[in-house]
């Protein structure tokens, strides 16, 4: 059983089709990367999986429950989501932001242990009493990831974790996501960076114009032919990993 499975999913925004006939699965213990050119539907796929954008046809199954039959709270406890938009309006204290990850458990939940645990894993405990706006972009990204981890959901969706981060922080965030997968979480991430995708993902879903062009291990899916056809690039290989090199 996949933690998250999309079968023949179709979804659209007002006026234009965004996903069509999408079949993809995200398994526990694996990092699955969703890649594709701009506008291919990567973020849309995550939004559909969350129920944020209702799908028009097809089936989305979350932990073997059909999306649409499960309650809002159950879904919030099952899927943690880290959107790309990382602006936090008010300069709240770091540990209070991380504690927002416990909201799905209701007011009586005492999630202090989960909050502390998530902060320790993302190495942000030392910022607990700081304000978010005092931290660097990389530190903020770790705090927001800790917020998502505090939910302790079996599925973690992350939209572009590497965007706007320096290389060291990109690697660090990918390692954190790997560690989550090693704990048994089904991790799904959208990525523009194909070398990060090929290095850190167990599975890759390639999207093109709202269709799935393929899903499989990086070595198979990110073939030279696929890179040329979907992305219009040629890549060099470094230890089997993709390094985008030239346009074709």
């Amino acid at each position: 059983m996949s933690a998250l499975r999309l079968s023949n999913v179709r979804a659209s925004y007002v006026g234009h089709m965004a996903l069509e006939g999408v079949i993809a699965h995200f398994d526990a213990g694996k990092v699955t990367g969703v890649v594709g050119p701009n506008g291919a539907g990567k973020t849309t796929l995550l939004r559909v999986a969350l129920g944020y954008l209702p799908h028009e046809s097809g089936v989305v199954r979350v932990l073997d429950h059909e999306l649409g039959t499960c309650s809002r709270e159950w879904l919030a406890r099952s899927i943690a989501y880290l959107p790309q938009e990382s602006a936090v309006q008010w300069p709240m204290l770091v540990h209070r932001i991380v504690a927002l990850g416990r909201l799905p458990y209701g007011a009586r939940d005492d999630g202090a242990a989960a909050v502390e645990d998530a902060m320790a894993r993302c190495d942000v405990l030392q910022f607990a009493s700081r304000r978010l706006n005092e931290l660097s972009a990389g530190e903020r990204a770790r705090v927001l990831l800790a917020r998502a981890l505090a939910t302790q959901a079996p599925i973690l969706l992350v939209d572009e974790p590497a965007a706007h981060l320096d290389p060291a922080h990109q690697l660090r965030l990918m390692e954190l996501l790997r560690a989550e997968a090693a704990r048994g979480v089904a991790v799904a991430i959208t990525l523009h960076d194909l070398s990060l995708a090929s290095r850190f993902c167990d599975e890759i879903v390639v999207l093109q114009n709202g269709h799935v062009a393929g899903q499989g291990v990086p070595g198979d899916v990110l073939s030279d032919a696929a890179l040329a056809q979907v992305f219009g690039i040629a890549a060099k290989r470094l230890d089997g990993n993709v390094v985008p090199w030239s346009r074709v």
């Binding site: 809002r72 989501y81 008010w90 202090a112 607990a128 009493s129 079996p154 390692e175 560690a179 979480v185």
Partner: protein
């Protein structure tokens, strides 16, 4: 629930990552083993998170109590200020006596005015805090977004076309209807994804339209009216408030503030953005609806009683925010208390500066609020707030 247990089972037997080298060891995954910098993390972890910066350990509660005391004290001062030369003890005695000049002054002039200042300020303060949280914008407030001017328009229509004479409930109902109309427009704008600045600009447009419509309604009204009445509705005034004004206002305001309070926790989640809030189980549309209804009730009823008092909802939440760790949820009730204190203080100042009653309380709040608004915009450009 069963799925959570399943997840726990996953944790005990994680499938090793396929990839290999860099992150390899991976299967002993008890959370404690993981932090990459054990020394640093452990040093901090020994001080428990529980209670640090928590509601109980920062002094938010104390400040809330202080605000309540301040509001009541200002209401008491407001009660003893007035043109009639009358002793404080006579005045308080008059509250409980059956008849006499002191009783009339205390019960029918001073008390309604003091109580109404609290109710109006409370409504505007809480509405401002909720709107700022909902729109994630420190510039939002019932005045800036046009909600008070629309409520004023509703009240003027009811008064000057004679509907209000039919039933005393029609005046607040009409003001609330005006507030509902504007906040519904704002609701649909924000639902359609309008930018935060666009919302404020739309609100400013609605505010000037509502003010123009108010002037038009007064010009066309069959009943004769005075220019001063018009200004009174547009600026807001507590002069000549009656106990009936207070009684009509207090119920919708209390209900409105309670509705806003009920949406508070979700406002915290909205700090992270709508998508993240939704993923945390927050019904974003439901929160918007609740805030819109709560603001319309509170602001509408307050405006029906006192006219369009501006900038209270802008200034108060902003001043109080740092004392509540910038958490929108905790800000609703303190902003209500702070608003009550501010309007009471402004109404005292108005009477001290111009004992003849020519200065309106809304003029006072605008004179404080408008420069504050500009300062806030300048500050927002310099730092992200």
């Amino acid at each position: 629930m069963d799925n959570y247990l399943q997840f726990q089972a996953h944790k005990k037997s994680p499938s090793p990552p396929s990839g290999g080298e860099g992150w390899g060891e991976g299967s002993s995954t008890a959370a404690r083993d993981w932090p990459p910098h054990p020394n640093r993390a452990d040093a901090v972890a020994s001080a428990p998170l529980r209670g640090r910066g928590d509601k109980r350990s920062d002094n938010g509660t104390l400040i809330t109590i202080a605000l309540a005391v301040l509001a009541l004290a200002l209401a008491a001062i407001s009660f003893v200020i007035g043109p009639a030369q009358i002793g404080i003890s006579d005045l308080f005695g008059g509250l409980f006596a059956q008849h006499g000049t002191a009783t009339v002054i205390a019960r029918e002039i001073r008390l309604p005015r003091a109580l109404l200042a609290l109710v109006v300020g409370g409504a505007l303060g809480a509405s401002g805090a909720a709107l700022q949280g909902l729109f994630r914008n420190p510039l939002a407030d019932p005045g800036v977004t046009g909600v008070t001017s629309s409520a004023g328009f509703g009240a003027v229509v009811a008064m000057y076309f004679g509907f209000a004479a039919l039933n005393p409930l029609i005046l607040p109902a009409s003001a609330i209807a005006g507030a509902v109309a504007t906040s519904t427009i704002l609701y649909f704008l924000s639902r359609a994804g309008a930018e935060r600045t666009a919302l404020i600009l739309a609100g400013a447009a609605i505010a000037s339209l509502a003010t123009a419509m108010t002037a038009l309604a007064m010009s066309l009204a069959p009943n004769p009216y005075a220019m001063s009445e018009m200004i009174r509705w547009m600026m807001g005034s507590l002069k000549d408030s009656t106990l009936a004004d207070f009684e009509l206002a207090v119920v919708p305001v209390v209900v409105g503030v309670a509705i806003l309070r009920s949406a508070a926790r979700s406002l915290d989640a909205l700090t992270l953005g709508e998508e993240a809030a939704q993923s945390l189980g927050v019904n974003v549309h439901g929160v918007r609806r609740r805030v819109v209804i709560g603001v319309a009730l509170a602001t509408g009823a307050a405006t029906a009683a006192a006219g369009a008092v501006s900038f209270v909802g802008l200034v108060v939440p902003h001043l109080l925010r740092p004392f509540y760790a910038y958490e929108p949820a905790r800000l609703i009730i303190p902003s209500a208390l702070g608003g009550a204190a501010l309007v009471s203080a402004a109404d005292i100042a108005v009477r001290l500066i111009a004992p003849d009653g020519q200065l309106l309380v809304g003029v006072m709040t605008a004179m404080i609020g408008a420069p504050f608004f500009v300062w806030l915009i300048l500050r927002m450009r310099r730092e992200a707030i």
